[in-house]
């Protein structure tokens, strides 16, 4: 199953992929394009990716999680292209025999994905301006797009 997609994230499809009567606990994380008080008037984020590398690196993250929490199943998805504010751009689902491992594997996978996957985002504001945004930048300090 491919991690990168240009379509809206299909939560049911992800849950189906890990469904197994032996796995009683399923944890999911959805990260959405945020437009809060501190975010400025963000209309959407335009995500781009180095797709081949994203796929191989995400497969490694999943393998590592399976090694650390035996029996856990992990899947994920990252939407690229234009994602409107309020819609999910990233999803991680981890199913495990019990809930502690499900939460741990889900959290670990999203943290590793944020750190390791070559994905970039450009914020699109309501006034039509754009800015590249790093994950470690404070919200009001996004790097302006060179003109």
């Amino acid at each position: 199953m491919q991690y990168v997609t240009r379509r809206p994230i299909d939560v049911h499809a992800l849950l189906s992929q890990v469904a197994d009567p032996a796995l009683g606990g399923t944890a999911m994380f959805l990260g959405s394009v945020r437009r809060g008080e501190d975010d400025g008037p963000v209309d959407a984020i335009d995500y781009s990716a180095y797709q081949d590398m994203v796929e191989t690196e995400f497969a490694k993250i999943v393998e590592e999680a399976a090694a650390q929490w035996p029996g856990v199943r992990v899947v994920g998805a990252h939407r690229i292209g234009l994602v409107p504010a309020g819609e999910p751009s990233i999803a991680v689902v981890a199913a495990a025999p019990h809930r502690a491992e499900a939460f741990a594997a889900c959290r670990h996978t999203i943290e590793e994905a944020k750190k390791r996957l070559p994905v970039w985002k450009k914020e699109i504001f309501t006034d039509g301006t754009e800015a590249w945004r790093n994950n470690d930048q404070p919200e009001r300090d996004a790097e302006p797009t060179p003109s």
């Binding site: 180095y50 590398m53 999203i110 070559p118």
Partner: protein, 93 residues
């Protein structure tokens, strides 16, 4: 995916360079090739790009890079046919 063995006697290595996101905007290109004296490292390729491409000096000295889709350091060797990717600070999710 590369041809190191077939070309091991050559005295140069040619690598495909891919630039993404803001680096693609800065350089005005998404892909190019560089030819380097063998042996060559990631650092050698970045130095060449910074010196020879318009706006190349706007790249960091040590950008985040991947070689053949694996995260790599500036000291990593490059072989003929390798794909070197220049990765702006990651911002997924």
């Amino acid at each position: 995916m590369h041809f190191r063995e077939a070309l091991s006697s050559s005295t140069t290595v040619t690598v495909t360079v891919r630039a993404f996101a803001r680096y693609a905007e800065i350089l005005g290109l998404e892909t190019t090739t560089v030819e380097l004296a063998d042996p060559a490292t990631v650092g050698d390729a970045v130095k060449r790009l910074r010196e020879s491409i318009p706006n190349g000096h706007l790249l960091p000295d040590r950008p985040l890079v991947a070689v053949n889709s694996e995260h790599a350091l500036a000291e990593a060797p490059l072989h003929d046919g390798d794909e070197l990717a220049l990765l702006p600070p990651l911002a997924g999710g």
